[in-house]
Symmetry: C2
Amino acid sequence: MAILVVGSVAFDAIETPSGRRDRCLGGAATYFSLAASNFTSVRVIGVVGEDFGPEEESVLTRRQIDTRGIEHVPGKSFFWSGSYMKNLNEAQTLNTELNVFQSFSPKIPPEYQDSEYLFLANIDPLLQEDVRRKMPRVKMVCGDTMNYWIKDHADNLARVLKGLDVLLINDGEAKMLAKDNNLLSAAQKVLDMGPKALVVKHGEYGATAFFGSHSFSGGDGAVTVPFRAPALPLAEVVDPTGAGDSFAGGFFGYIASQPALTPAVFRRAMFYGGVMGSFAVERFGTERLQNLQPKEIEERFALFRQLSHLD
Amino acid sequence: MAILVVGSVAFDAIETPSGRRDRCLGGAATYFSLAASNFTSVRVIGVVGEDFGPEEESVLTRRQIDTRGIEHVPGKSFFWSGSYMKNLNEAQTLNTELNVFQSFSPKIPPEYQDSEYLFLANIDPLLQEDVRRKMPRVKMVCGDTMNYWIKDHADNLARVLKGLDVLLINDGEAKMLAKDNNLLSAAQKVLDMGPKALVVKHGEYGATAFFGSHSFSGGDGAVTVPFRAPALPLAEVVDPTGAGDSFAGGFFGYIASQPALTPAVFRRAMFYGGVMGSFAVERFGTERLQNLQPKEIEERFALFRQLSHLD
């Protein structure tokens, strides 16, 4: 079943203790699509400038990602530059140039209309809301956001949250959104804002899913106990950029590949999220995700199980 | 099989966002013993002053903890006062009075000589070494330490580490000990210092066990993949004091209750550690641990499994 993702397609300049890259293909929609493409078909909506050529496009199309929704306009693509020299767990933004993204107005190609799954990557909640409205018949919607929208665009974000099945954010964002420093009570407050489930990403400590009182259609019973998926302890995190988007891609890609969203499917999706995040950070940018093999993914899934299961 | 524990028996004054207590029975050996007593018989070595009376002693003896190794001397017991008002994850020490602990010289009663398991709680490495030497025939030794000994008593600590089967410390301590900020490579460096296994406690994110190239006797094969046990998301952490010692008590108590230390037993022990830590923080001091029922422990163990297992 196809996932439609709307979000940024960008170029990144990144420095980490392992080295630096002046120009990597990046952006939330790119990481998400590459990760999800291992599980299901993916369609991208985004905007790029003249610096995004056939070489960049082929990174996506080689993975059978549908790029017909990537609009090409005059100018330069979204550019982000960040450093992890001080802290591998949190990027220090050195520069952000919105460029063509500034006037991004998502257009949905007719071929995308039958998408059953929708991922709203971290962009202006007004755009998230717009795309959500244009896709009224999707079966499931997941979304991301960040501190900037939580702080300064709370009302717009609140409307997006009401329409989400799953919100995927990190610890700090969840606590900021709920104005509560305890993870569990913060999660309950976020769930009261609309999402049926909340996935909180803890970086090197994995991720926790919290469930509201709504149940998912097709489920095999209501889930109320949170679920914790591990992260893989890695000897070297080469570049943390895109780990969260890759998690989302593995998570949602796996769900979209399954006939129904049962609690067991949700739990496995959390593991596949962790698996894709663990691959993403092993190399710079999307390098590791570009050539992943199904066998590698299944081996790592087995490792995640071994890492966390009693028997 | 009996565990002998050497460590502090103390009084604590604690303030947290949930309230305050001016005088709780505390100390690492107390938390450890109460937690471990749910699984096996426990014998304590420590020192107390005249303020430690029959009422305090009965907290331990009611749980069948052998207190004959607690030496009573003139003066006041170890006193610690701490605040968690700023940060629930890290105590701010307001006051430490060593009192009778200052001249503590552990003496092992003849009745304790046949103990098969030894836990060296967080005390001066010289004392840990001394007790270890006096118990040459124990089957397994676990130990704890803290930043103070790591920084200023490194040579003494190094000798203790060589004799340990399992070292249990937290993230910050592991990284400080290894002088390495990456958890996995820090763990490998710590394992090179002697312990056969390292358990790193992550507070609200659970704990990870790392294994060296040595295997445990009685094991069903060498373990090399780390193991991650979850922590329970709690709506209110009333008092974090003693969580780590309670983890150690659950972990080591379960191991001592089993006929052999297999990888499966080690993994279950990690879960029981998390279970006991989760109980400890639900009330002030040792209040919650004093009256725990076996049924509550098994229910929570099942919850930890549900929280982390795919099926």
